[in-house]
């Protein structure tokens, strides 16, 4: 009983959506408003992961723009890569990208993924995500805010 009361009290906690951003790339298949994402942590400090999590949580609710995280790259349209690419994660990153059916988009999340951030030229680091796979959309920030992530996702879903 108390749960029903809680649901009623809380109501909608989602932030109002700002206007849709300009499209960064055309929607991969021509269908707007649907984007399944496979997330790969290439060597992140988990800061970006936390922000991604909250982007999909009730307050920011990325799902209302058609984005959804999925378990298998086979189900995905886009690769969400976080962190600098370490030696150990280079091959898994390539494998994951290869497993995603065409047409596909690569989104680099966070300063490390985009430019290397504080880990640039570290001994275990191969380079940025862009050094390993072709990146279509970049989300700068250390870590980027959920709002930034959502804006970037909307620029791909077109919704």
């Amino acid at each position: 009983m108390s749960w029903i009361g809680k649901i009623a009290r809380v109501g909608r906690m989602v932030e109002p959506a700002p206007d849709a951003p300009e499209a960064a790339v055309a929607p991969p298949t021509g269908v707007t408003g649907s984007l399944q994402l496979r997330h790969v942590d290439c060597g992140s400090c988990n800061g970006c992961e936390l922000e991604i999590t909250s982007a999909f949580a009730p307050v920011y609710d990325a799902e209302r723009f058609g984005a959804r995280l999925v378990a298998s790259p086979r189900h995905a349209d886009a690769l969400l890569a976080t962190g600098v690419v370490t030696h150990n994660m280079r091959q898994p990153l390539l494998n994951t990208l290869k497993a995603i059916p065409e047409p596909r988009v690569v989104i680099a999340v966070g300063d490390c993924a985009v430019s290397g951030g504080v880990f640039t030229k570290g001994y275990g680091v191969v380079g940025t995500v862009g050094d390993v796979v072709p990146v279509d959309v970049e989300i700068p920030g250390c870590p980027p805010t959920p709002q930034q992530i959502i804006t970037a996702l909307r620029s791909v879903t077109g919704r």
């Binding site: 298949t29 021509g30 990153l93 494998n95 290869k98 059916p101 065409e102």
Partner: protein, 668 residues
């Protein structure tokens, strides 16, 4: 008999030369051909009896005093025809199989004999002839089981089989001797005429003894344990014959003696049969679903299916005695149809398993896999058999299981409490059996034939030779008929039902047309229409999947998704053991697997694990509880008897003389 060739590849080359020169005849072809011809004769004879007049044959000189008496009526005709049909497929298959496996002369000779004995059993018209044929069948099958007697497991299975089959024979012998003594004659017809003189005491005793005896042949609990041992160890064509034809003889015995001769009995007869059937079905399928040996799985599935048939027979008996002959007729039709379809899909299953065994030398599902690419025809064949065994629509077993369920739900429930209580529980048992049967067959087909090979032997598998494929194709054709067009069998079934006394002539059983309709109760189903509609629906689904196709990039072949790693090794696949593990855990209390976990710690710290070994062994709990004591008792007895065996011929003569004296004194 000593020209047995070992399995080692070098041996045939050495042995082949001189033998080929000595015997110009082709043993496998002759034996297989003879088997198939015998089968064809049986099939024709059976069908001619079903549609024509009963046939009789007396050979007075063959047995002293009573002679051999063969009476073939439509009921026997069904079994003769079914055995014949199985033998045709097996005979053709055996040609290639015996060549590939280099059978010795002894099994080659025995194979047609075995088929002949099985054809004689349902044709027997008197107790003596019946017992003679029964024993001939048991002996020949034992020889065939022991074909590969060099392996220890085979010998062990052989001993088990010999003891259990003779134990069953003793039950049948006692029962039939009592029956013929009280029935005033040797011939079944005489007994049938006098059977009303039987008092309930001996009648019930005969019923129980025959159910036990015939049940042991049919693989029913608790006398089933020889079956999953002997059937897998026999060469595959023999397994097919035993599992698809020989077990039927147990059912035949129950129908002939208990339902027809002793005829409508009290309620508890039907109930007893139902309980035996339900327990066997559930236990059999449970063992099959956790078994990892392809042939053993099929053997347990035989126990399951015989259980279902017995359940249907019991339901028919119970319904007859509660005054519902129309529904009883449905149950009986279900039993007969399931018997026939089981013969078809089990033949196919064992023959396909034999192909796998011949191609890889493996029966262990944990080592198989990937055969779909290497042995495509065999895979399709096993798929058809597995679909039939799982009782799903489009499978051979669906129609009969549907009939069985219909008969159970339409049982009259307002008059007799027993019926009202037995039927829901039976539906539960049948449903659990079907559900677990699906799991077992998915495991056998999926793990055994799909995915990637789990061993080098499976990797190197090659498709079976033509004659083996031909035999399997015949059986597969039969399966398809049962699955899609059971209407073709309808005339034969109607004729047989008409002669069965429990049902009676006037209520002729369900109408099996394109659309199956049940008489007296509302219910209909059409396997053919269903198949056609499903085909259309699947095509529709394909068309749907083409929608938007012009936007698509070309199809890509990529390696499996290995969660980011470079590749998956075949050892990372689920095996049969792991596949069945959830079921094994759910039914832990019944299966009681022997599990053992050993954890070895590093010497430095007990928090660091060096090695974990996990071992689980599936043992048949019934076997452990009931059989080991029996076998031990027999062994002790044998030890005692051994003391009388001194080796002295004089003493043996004295035993003989003493025995003769005792007989004379008693019979005085």
């Amino acid at each position: 008999m000593t020209t047995t060739i070992d399995a080692s590849p070098a041996a045939p080359a050495l042995g082949e030369g001189p033998r080929a020169a000595r015997r110009s005849i082709d043993g496998p072809a002759l034996s297989g051909g003879l088997t198939a011809i015998l089968g064809a004769i049986g099939l024709t004879l059976g069908l001619s009896v079903i549609f024509g007049e009963p046939r009789q044959l007396r050979i007075g000189w063959l047995l002293p005093l009573v002679g051999v008496r063969l009476d073939l009526d439509p009921l026997g005709g069904v079994f003769v025809a079914a055995t014949g049909a199985v033998a045709i497929a097996v005979g053709i298959y055996a040609v290639g199989y015996a060549r590939r496996e280099h059978w010795a002369r002894f099994p080659l000779v025995t194979l047609p004999l075995f088929v002949a004995a099985m054809l004689l059993v349902p044709a027997a018209g008197s107790v003596t002839t019946f017992l003679l044929a029964w024993e001939l069948m048991a002996a020949t099958s034992l020889i065939l089981v022991l074909s590969e007697h060099r392996r220890k497991e085979v010998r062990c299975a052989g001993v088990f089989y010999a003891i259990m089959t003779q134990l069953g024979f003793v039950f049948i012998l006692i029962a039939l001797v009592v029956l013929s003594a009280t029935g005033g004659g040797d011939a079944f017809t005489t007994i049938a005429a006098n059977v009303d003189n039987l008092t309930p005491g001996p009648r019930n005793a005969i019923f129980l003894l025959t159910v036990l005896g015939f049940g042991s042949k049919a693989g029913l609990l608790p006398l089933h344990a020889w079956l999953p041992k002997a059937h897998p160890e026999a060469p595959s064509p023999v397994s097919a014959l035993m599992s698809a034809a020989m077990v039927n003889m147990g059912i035949y015995g129950i129908i002939r003696i208990d339902l027809q001769l002793l005829g409508p009995g009290p309620h508890w007869w039907g109930l007893t049969l139902m309980i035996f059937g339900a327990v066997s079905a559930v236990f059999g399928v449970l063992q099959a679903s956790v078994s990892t040996d392809l042939k053993q799985l099929l053997a347990y599935s035989t126990t399951e299916n015989m259980g279902l048939i017995t359940l249907a027979l019991g339901a028919a008996a119970l319904l007859t005695s509660s005054g519902a002959p129309t529904v009883a007729a449905i149950a009986l039709t279900a039993a007969l149809l399931h018997l026939l379809s089981h013969a078809a899909f089990k033949t196919l299953g064992f023959l396909a398993a034999g192909s796998v065994l011949a191609a890889t030398g493996l029966r262990d599902l944990d080592k198989l896999g990937g055969l779909a690419r290497r042995m495509p025809v065999t895979t399709v064949m096993f798929g058809i058999a597995a679909l039939g065994a799982s009782g799903l629509p489009l499978g051979a077993g669906f129609v009969s299981e549907w009939l069985l369920l219909q008969s159970l739900i339409h049982a009259p429930h307002d008059s007799i409490t027993l019926v009202a209580l037995a039927m829901p529980l039976s539906v539960g048992a049948v449903a659990l059996t079907t559900g677990l049967g699906i799991a077992a067959m998915v495991k056998a087909f999926g793990v055994g034939f799909l995915a990637r090979p789990r061993s080098a032997a499976a990797e190197a598998a090659r498709e079976a030779p033509k004659s083996m494929l031909a035999g399997m194709t015949l059986a597969a054709a039969a399966c398809v008929i049962f699955a899609v067009a059971p209407a073709l069998l309808s005339p034969a079934l109607q004729r047989v039902l008409a002669v069965l006394p429990t049902v009676g002539g006037d209520s002729a059983g369900p109408q099996i047309d394109t659309i199956l309709r049940l008489p007296g109760v509302a219910g209909s189903m059409s396997p053919a229409l269903l198949a056609a509609a499903l085909a259309i629906a699947v095509l529709l689904a394909f068309v749907l999947a083409r929608w938007g196709g012009r936007h698509r990039p070309p199809v890509m072949v990529t390696p499996l998704w290995a969660s980011g790693a470079d590749s998956l090794s075949p050892r990372m696949q689920y095996t049969a053991t792991s596949f069945a593990e959830p079921l094994q855990r759910v039914f832990d209390d019944i299966l009681r697997p022997d599990t053992n976990v050993e954890v070895t710690h590093f010497a430095e710290s007990q928090y660091l694990v060096e090695r974990v070994s996990y071992r689980t062994l599936m043992v048949d709990p019934v076997e452990q509880r009931f059989y080991t004591p029996v076998v031990r008792a027999v062994t002790i007895w044998a030890q005692l008897v051994r003391r009388a065996h001194t080796g002295s011929v004089h003493l043996y003569l004295a035993y003989g003389a003493a025995g003769l004296l005792i007989v004379l004194l008693v019979a005085r």
